[in-house]
Symmetry: C2
Subunit: 226 residues, 2 copies
Amino acid sequence: MADQRVGILVFPDVQQLDLTGPFEVFASTPGLSVELVGKSTQPLRSASGLILAPDQTLASALPYDVICVPGGVGVNALLDDQSILTFLRAQAETARFVTSVCTGSLVLGAAGLLTGRQATTHWASHDLLAAFGARPTAARVVRDGKFFTGGGVTAGIDMALTVVAEIFDQATAEAVQLALEYAPAPPFGAGHPTSAPPAVLARVRERGKAVRLAREAIISRLGAPR
Amino acid sequence: MADQRVGILVFPDVQQLDLTGPFEVFASTPGLSVELVGKSTQPLRSASGLILAPDQTLASALPYDVICVPGGVGVNALLDDQSILTFLRAQAETARFVTSVCTGSLVLGAAGLLTGRQATTHWASHDLLAAFGARPTAARVVRDGKFFTGGGVTAGIDMALTVVAEIFDQATAEAVQLALEYAPAPPFGAGHPTSAPPAVLARVRERGKAVRLAREAIISRLGAPR
């Protein structure tokens, strides 16, 4: 049987771990093949400086069984990018699973794909989902029909394992988890605003302030459905 | 103050998440800058097909404050690659921290850097550390002096956060953890041989058998110190 195909969107200033986490989960699953899809096949730079090379363009990509939209500061430029939004709407129509990691769900929202749906995103942008008519839902991975959205960055690994279990079965996902030795043991407990020390939360909010303000301004300009 | 510099080794058939996990942790830390170091600057393909582009060559790389060796099936070719081993020995002499993820520690071992030291690696290669005179230690992250080794693949995130706390302080590492929303919630509990269902463990062992046998043959040929 031919592999089922996973397409992951890639764009300048993507948060690379949003993309590389699910990439490794999907690509480690026998029976799945993974491609990166960009506006061109020109290599581009992630937010933290890793170079990523798209395999396909929006025009050359065939319909995927699973489409995945990662996040990062670069999503701001996608929220009113009609070529990206049109691509995602077309893919979503035929895909078995439409997925996102982190603020990738804002792009799905901007494409009009999350209206009335439960969804999640990075904690620092969580409330913004409502501007797209989605129902912000506090969970690491949120499923609503064929839409699977993950929380911030590292949640992409949990999201992708969840989707692999849906495509195949739990044992297939468990085998990938074991191969990737995904038995996480964070040295600290600060991974979420509900558990981080207040001073740490304040520091991260301050660091993300400019991106957040720019994002609010774009969304307000879009006049997205509320 | 100038950034402290992190160099991550990159090679054909590297397990990309071994590399991209720590990359994101280190590159998200203010005061650290990250480079990929390869045998040439020619882009190369990871074991799961992601293209990675080295920033520096073994010859052009300056001494790093932190050197990091990821793993993957590609490490087999590094275990007797004198240019890589000589590079790592030179870097280790001056680096503040010498680190590895997954089977990257076997390469540190082959360079003679782990003799008498506690270390860990991917569960499926854990016992092989002894062939290099290291003391295989069962933990997600193992510290021995300035040497920090992580377990398989995803353990690189935990290892890098541990090292960031050492370089700076706990709050700095916590801020990175929060920014990456690293509050993992694996959908299943199969991330380690001690917790995976026996049939899943058997499946993953079977799938990794050829790489494991080839690795044993190389190590036996090397006649590494025991």
